[in-house]
Symmetry: C2
Subunit: 433 residues, 2 copies
Amino acid sequence: MPRTIVRLSARDIRMPTSESKAGSDAMHVDPDYSGAYVILETDADDGRCGHGMTFTIGRGNEICVAAIDALKPLVVGLSLESIIWDMAGFWRRLTGESQLRWIGPEKGVIHLATAAIVNAIWDLWAKVEGKPVWQLVADLTPEQFVDCIDFRYLSDALTRDDALQILRDKLPTRAAREAEMRREGYPAYITSAGWMGYPDELVRKLCREARAAGWTRFKIKVGRDSDENVRRAALVREEIGPDALMMMDANQAWEVGEAIALMRPLAEFHPLWIEEPTSPDDILGHAAIRRAIHPIGVATGEHGANRVIFKQLMQAGAIDFCQFDNCRLGGLSEALAVLLLAAKFKVPVCPHAGGLGLCEYAQHVSLIDYICVSGSLDRRMTEFADHLHEHFLDPVSFRGGRYVVPTAPGFSIEMKPQSLDDYEFPQGRKWRR
Amino acid sequence: MPRTIVRLSARDIRMPTSESKAGSDAMHVDPDYSGAYVILETDADDGRCGHGMTFTIGRGNEICVAAIDALKPLVVGLSLESIIWDMAGFWRRLTGESQLRWIGPEKGVIHLATAAIVNAIWDLWAKVEGKPVWQLVADLTPEQFVDCIDFRYLSDALTRDDALQILRDKLPTRAAREAEMRREGYPAYITSAGWMGYPDELVRKLCREARAAGWTRFKIKVGRDSDENVRRAALVREEIGPDALMMMDANQAWEVGEAIALMRPLAEFHPLWIEEPTSPDDILGHAAIRRAIHPIGVATGEHGANRVIFKQLMQAGAIDFCQFDNCRLGGLSEALAVLLLAAKFKVPVCPHAGGLGLCEYAQHVSLIDYICVSGSLDRRMTEFADHLHEHFLDPVSFRGGRYVVPTAPGFSIEMKPQSLDDYEFPQGRKWRR
């Protein structure tokens, strides 16, 4: 029996995180972690719904909700089976809608909205199969995997045949890596000790607690004040010790030349990478920075608008680490394409997470990368921030600084009904008072 | 007396152009030319209002209206004088708003909305000065001109000092070029004879009519069917004669390799450029196409999201013609930056126009370019499409295939009150029936 999507509802969910400065950085001083949240209901009587969301940081979340509403006619009335049968075509119809594409194309609000819907489809599909999303994908044949991807604008860097070859090479050893992941979990690093707006003593305390919990990889925020950057880096290095990994994140605050100059005095703290040193659109700028600050790596991706940007970051040799976001890209369907691009160009993927629901998403993406695509853990780890997981039905779980593999069916993104009601903006209980 | 902005209203204006296929191309088969329209009211008793709009092609226009509403608190309550005093800072506050920037940054819906507001400020400023916008800018000193620009992310290609030098070099001869423009007008080319959806006989008729009216430069649409492209190019070349300029526009329909292959059989028709051969985000792809199809030029820009994309198109030697859109960029303030970049890299600017209101905007941009920035007409011309000008209070005007210089105060973008009422979506008279 086909299962038809009969209703798509979009809700504006916001958490008042700006009250505590959680998530603050050089460009985003007061984020309210938010989700433009999608629920897909079907005519099946098993009560299974598809859930998906796109992450924003507060104001503007209502614009993403409006964009989801604009895409609704392209989804409601379709059967899940017809979508699954042609995932690439479904994605092309959303991103290529002849009038809506003008306001992107494939970037900004309309692409964020696309992600929420596409990920809700993946969630629904996985629930119907009774598997977590990572496993649903790990159980696809290479042919089924590539059939989920729209290769438009990629063919000069990655063809369907290239993609098939990458997947076939890893196929015989998939089961061994899956067993390893179930046993060991996926490596992670922690961001939530080093927010820009936190006072020194809080940073010290959080670093100590994280070390005690088994964390060995830490990311800190840096900004435009060189002395302050050096002071904070020294403080964190003192707390985490000489052997722990330290990453730095400038959140787009710098000019190209400024990035090169400001990283020079930070080299003594041995950062693995500098993240978002400049505009996320500046492929050639990242390449210039990378050449200048070697052996410090360059990382970017959480604001990388689409696969065409990532294609060029790799063609230009601009990055050492690819940090795409599964809801900045147009959902998992496009994320799979970027995983394949990264494998072809031998760039490790360390997905962007934190925020609201992003860790829940990212763990699936990293498991797919390791089990099906790259087959490697070398220089790979998934971001983690310790906020807001209590609102999810199947929250991320950690053991010794590693993500424990999720086993519940779906994309781990479904929020508790009470949280949805309490934090709905502006009418929810938490916003009314 | 300072003049304070007391009200910002945003309206969803749509024209049912899809009924006639006007504007149709390979990717946008049924556009309804639309504007997310801004009106700024002030507390002055002279009745002057600032008008601005961003162009879209129908569905999604309501999302841009929602984004304008989200930016409203950053504008209402400010005096025009305080904005003019620091145009670059005003622009930075809109594009850098700490929560809203997440849903861009500086791209897609939120940037389109920024453009509508920024251009309405320029319109208001020019009206208060009693000048058309092009003349307001042409009367600025080089220092005042660069003070309107946010140079963030440009400094590796264009500094404030570079910009000042370019403007100072042209300063002594500004008056002569202004007089020439008032006498001769600015060169244009016509797009509205060659829409994809038009039948052959209509294309022939429109080409003949345009030639009779003095047009000598024509653009046609091309798509993925090579034989059909060749047939249409031959038909148009036959009508316009061997000496007229012909440009071609693929509207992003092709892969990089496909663009190179499909342009080969079109070379015999001597196109000046191929426009948007592939993804508008693909800087390196445009560079590869340009190398392969020389001496046919490569043009792009109407979907170029921001100045960082244009910086790279120029750094990479990816384009022969820069076709930015004054409302895809974040309004005139950012367009001035790209004019300066183009002058530094010696790339001619041929602004995107057509649509609804875009010709009205573009004529000002081209006049500023010639009078203040590039000082050259070499390989420069502004797009023109003969649709919907009747809805504007100060519509574009033509003589012998050239834009006649506008003289009314403002940005020429104010629509007739009756048109705004009739075409407001969905409640206007033209949509209700």
